[in-house]
């Protein structure tokens, strides 16, 4: 992402939450209190900007547990760099989300 300094507070919060271990949409919604209409488009945008990456869990595992496969998000190296910058810009960011999930 070329213009990382302009990451909005909401986007930075979501990125921080993903970094804290919330790896799917509803979990991020629970953690941040943001609605799904904000979280999912933000995830898509950050994914297209290369800040996060998504991955489907192995099909076999889901089949064995008789449940649908789930998509997980994780922060990329570039995302970590941007998050660092965002934390400098928004000092309260790290305090807003708990780090206990990892």
């Amino acid at each position: 992402m070329s213009d990382s300094a302009k990451l909005s507070h909401t986007a930075a919060l979501i990125l921080q939450t993903v970094e804290n271990g919330c790896s799917y949409g509803f979990d991020i919604m629970d953690e941040t209190g943001l609605p799904s209409g904000t979280v999912y488009p933000a995830l898509r945008r950050m994914e297209s900007d290369g800040l996060i990456a998504s991955q489907w869990e192995p099909e076999k595992k889901a089949q064995a547990e008789q449940r649908p496969v789930r998509k997980y998000y994780r922060v990329t190296r570039e995302g970590l760099h941007v998050l660092e910058q965002s934390q400098k810009r928004y000092p309260l960011l790290a305090k807003l989300t708990s780090k206990s999930r990892r």
């Binding site: 799917y24 949409g25 509803f26 919604m29 609605p35 799904s36 209409g37 904000t38 979280v39 999912y40 488009p41 898509r44 945008r45 297209s48 449940r67 649908p68 496969v69 789930r70 998509k71």
Partner: protein, 476 residues
Amino acid sequence: MPSPARRPLAVVLSDWIVAVAALLTPKAQRSDWKREWRAEIWHRWQFLWHARMWSRHEKLALVRSTLGAFQDAAWLLKSHEAFWQDVREWARSPFTCFGALGVLLLVTTMLSGGLPATRELLSARSNLLFIWIHPSGGGHDKGLPPDLVPAWERYSRQVAKVAAFQIGRAVADQPLLVTVQPEFFDVIGVKPALGTLPRQGAVVLDDRAWRSLTHANPAAAGSSLKVGGDSHKIAAVLPPNFWILSRQPTVYVVQREITKGLVFAVARPKPGVTRRQLDKELVRIAQEVCYYFLDSQLRYAAWTNVLLTPLRLFGIAVALAGLMAPLVFRFRLRAFRLAATRRTLFFIAKATLALAWVFAACLELSRSESAILLGSKDPGDGPFLVWLYILGTMGVLFWAVADQRARCRVCLRLLAFPVRVGCPGCLLLDWSGTELFCSEGHGILHVPHMAPSWDEEDERWISLDESWQGLFASGK
């Protein structure tokens, strides 16, 4: 705790919301997108179920959260380049041009409440005639001496019915005041929607005046109304959509005899009576009551003619558009007769549709302003804003020509990707101009920035054969 055998209603509803929202997503991403949302819903439900938190509140929260799928889908659609490419292609399409004009017509129809004035044209009151004097010497007001109309009524054998009326001065934001004889409504052929038509000293409101002055009071007949400083009793209300002299709110003050000022006459000649016969008889009667100056000064306006004037103007405008078509195309594409025919038909259809919109809009949105603007008090002169119609027609024709020139000569799509070429200072060898391409690869239009005097054609269309189409298609 075992999972329930059937999915609860909240989950079914959430899945259904996702299925509907998925219709917005680009096709290539739809399957994955649905899969992700449905998995999230399933896991949410299972988590809450096993945590014994699957309450009514949580069910509602799940459905509410799933509604965000629409925003998510809309974001995906918005960020999908192919979607915008489709939008651009759609905007360039010749069918979009027709669609936009159709929407304009539809909006005008809705705003005007179903084109009442246009429908009125088709149901014109037959053989209704307005009569007045247009003094040849000039300098006089138009109108008839008030005692002439009773003489015509008494002695004429050619006129079945005649009545006098007087139009009051138009005042902005005030209803139009028209003084009429009691026979006026009989001649016009209108019956009241409320109350009974009076013989003397009362007023009749048209539907617009009834709505604006009495707030559509159904018990208005019999009540008093202050008009022009005097208080009058409201005797009747005319039916909706009725108008005769003006489409602004009108109050008809009924008087048995009109004795002051000049009047107009509205008459209904007997069947088979020609204008010449009628004129001869009316002038003779006028001379018998000592009005010797009427010869060749009486003016007649058939109501049907007054109403059909806008339609004639429309016909002229369409014919003009038809005549312009060959001039616009200059038949450059003789080799492609099919394409030239298609372009001509498209131009005529587009111009006709746009002219029809201008016609309907001017007719429906006008009231009696044209009569005021043209300084005329001729009855029935202007339910139509002639000046606006002329301007609108010119605008439409200019637009139609400009739009046509900006379209591909083969597929009629709007040309795209403007590129500036050449050097503005190098007039001899390196022509500066703008080149526009057809997105289907049919050709390039070169529009010079400065047209040379020795070159007749200011724009140059360069046709490209099929071998180019792959190149343009790949650029989409």
